[in-house]
């Protein structure tokens, strides 16, 4: 049976996460066989479809170009997936807010379980996924005929872009009388997206206030980093929730993660412990963050940050 990957896209561009999900699909295909198709659903998505067709390992890109899919609303997108799923043994999507929103609908309407946020493919029907905020890793085996899976993109290396898949339009407009789009307010930022950044600089409750997060700006500029925050900093009202790194926020795995004024609560560690190099700056030398940090600096962040910025 073939594998269908739901493409993630924003602002007319294919999201990089899709290349990671295709990598997971390749691992499944290596064990279970089958072609890899990508579904691009949206309005005016031909450039996205072309980008998806270049991903290595993709045989075919199926394009549902219709206004009903313009804002990735769960109800029509779910119905589209249900209509197509008969051709497939696996349907995969990114564990993004879009994938998480839509895929459980496909699973429920197909009367199968969903396997959420896999981090490893053991075989075509057995997968590893984190539970309890990453404090335990479950190996799960699916006996369902259709496997509906969301993939944690940072757990799989992206495939290359040297492929040449076929592009086919599908004529499948569905009705949606249940929900409608009102508006979208995306954070305007010149910085890289938190989930995809090579370097992340995060602040915690130790930052003391939202204004003090500006101390991270200069460092982030010099490193080309995204800025994140711990849940404690979000709960304290310093910064917006979409900056949250942790089990209840974004899961990141950059080359370099700099944790500033973050104590290292379990739920935060779950969101960043797979980073390649971790730096912690905290004045409390007993802070648990130092147990996972490759380089720990016990210092007052209000002195250390300006110095670090000047020396980068």
């Amino acid at each position: 049976m073939s594998i269908l990957v739901l493409a993630e896209h924003h602002d007319g561009q294919l999201a990089e996460a899709t290349a990671h999900v295709v990598a997971a699909a390749q691992q499944i295909a290596r064990d279970g066989g089958g072609d890899i198709d990508v579904l691009v659903a949206g309005e005016g998505v031909s450039a996205i479809a072309e980008a998806a067709a270049r991903l290595d390992g993709v045989s075919r890109v199926r394009v549902a170009d219709d206004a009903v899919y313009a804002h990735q609303l769960a109800e029509p997108l779910g119905d589209l997936l249900v209509a197509l799923s008969g051709d497939y043994g696996h349907v995969l999507a990114t564990a993004s807010t879009t994938g998480k929103n839509v895929l459980p609908r496909l699973a429920a309407l197909s009367d199968v379980s969903q396997i959420s946020e896999i981090i490893a493919v053991e075989s075509a029907d057995t997968f590893k996924r984190p539970i309890y905020a990453g404090n335990a890793i479950a190996t799960v085996h699916s006996e369902d005929a259709l496997k509906v899976i969301t993939v944690r993109p940072t757990a799989f290396d992206a495939v290359g872009e040297t492929g040449g898949g076929a592009i086919e339009a599908i004529d499948n407009g569905v009705d949606n009388a249940l929900s409608s789009f009102i508006d979208e307010r995306l954070e305007q930022s010149d910085r890289p997206e938190l989930g995809a950044a090579k370097v992340v600089v995060s602040g915690g409750r130790g930052m003391g206030s939202g204004e003090n997060f500006q101390l991270l700006d200069g460092i982030a500029d010099k490193l080309g980093a995204a800025i994140g925050a711990s849940r404690a900093a979000v709960d304290a009202g310093f910064v917006a929730n979409d900056m949250q790194v942790g089990q209840t926020g974004k899961i990141v795995a950059p080359e370099l993660y700099v944790a500033v004024g973050i104590s290292g609560a379990i739920q935060h560690l779950a969101g960043m412990k797979d980073s390649k190099v971790i730096v912690a700056i905290n004045k409390d030398e007993e802070a648990p963050i130092f147990q996972v940090a490759d380089y720990g600096l016990v210092a007052d962040l209000f002195e250390a940050l300006p110095e670090l910025e000047s020396k980068l």
Partner: protein, 249 residues
């Protein structure tokens, strides 16, 4: 309008997780249990809707073991009017939970059903979406703002990179995200009063739902331990190490 709010009994979020030595599961013996934090936000939202006069009745529901009655009593103490306990000692996967809740939705016919976006034990983030699909109701997941306007529900959703607002035709399903509200604590007199509020018990059999699942848990292991590194004495040393040792600058 009637609001149904679903809650789940899970390990308390402050408890350190230990995997059983035989790697069959996480060890839950003698561990503090509590209402799932996202469900607390769901209960709070339902109660606020009632306080605003939008909701006429708040019904709390849970699927779980006998002990989960404790979490229903908490929901009642927080302001729910009555509770429904779908009692089973068997493990219940998301799909079965959604099917059971769909039966309860069918019986109760709430205009609005509110659930937490995910439970902090299985971290699935599935039940609300599955319930919406099974009941043919629209879904507003990861909600940070909910507003009832006639027969429409305006839901602002926390999506990657920002916020999205959608209009849903009631009756609808909502799942909660962190910024929706800050849950209150139950007051002692309300905890006492909650003991007298009605609590109805049903079984999956009575609802005609099998809790069997196509998903089998093969093993549960602790995650790979990350080795702590070194402490550096100064910013200069840190920059030097990052440049010359880790080679990430």
């Amino acid at each position: 309008m009637k609001v149904l709010v679903a809650v789940k009994r899970v390990i308390d979020y402050n408890v350190k997780i230990r995997v059983k030595p035989d790697h069959s599961d996480v060890d839950l013996t003698n561990v503090k249990m509590a209402m799932n934090p996202f469900c607390e936000i769901a209960v709070e939202e339902a109660v606020r809707l009632k306080e605003k006069g939008v909701a006429s009745e708040v019904v709390a529901v849970t699927v779980g073991p006998k002990a989960a009655q404790e979490q229903l009593r908490t929901a009642l103490a927080l302001g729910a009017d009555r509770a429904i306990h779908v009692q089973t000692e068997a493990p219940v996967e998301s799909l079965a939970a959604a099917k059971l809740l769909a039966k309860v939705v069918g019986e109760e016919q709430p205009q609005l059903t509110i659930l937490g976006k995910q439970a902090i034990d299985s971290d699935n983030n599935q039940v609300g979406q599955m319930l919406a699909a099974l009941t043919g109701r629209p879904q507003g997941t990861f909600a940070s703002e909910v507003e009832v306007d006639g027969d429409t529900l305006k839901v602002t959703r926390e999506i990657d990179g920002g916020l999205q607002t959608v209009a849903l035709k009631l009756p609808a399903i909502v799942t909660t995200d962190l910024r929706l509200n800050e849950p209150r604590y139950a007051k002692l007199p309300d905890i006492m009063k909650a003991k007298k509020k009605p609590l109805d018990t049903k079984t999956p059999d009575e609802l005609g739902v099998s809790v069997d699942s196509g998903l089998k848990r093969v093993a549960v292991e602790p995650p790979a331990e990350r080795q702590g590194g070194v402490k550096v004495g100064s910013v200069d040393e840190l920059v030097d190490k990052l440049k010359n040792e880790a080679k990430v600058l």
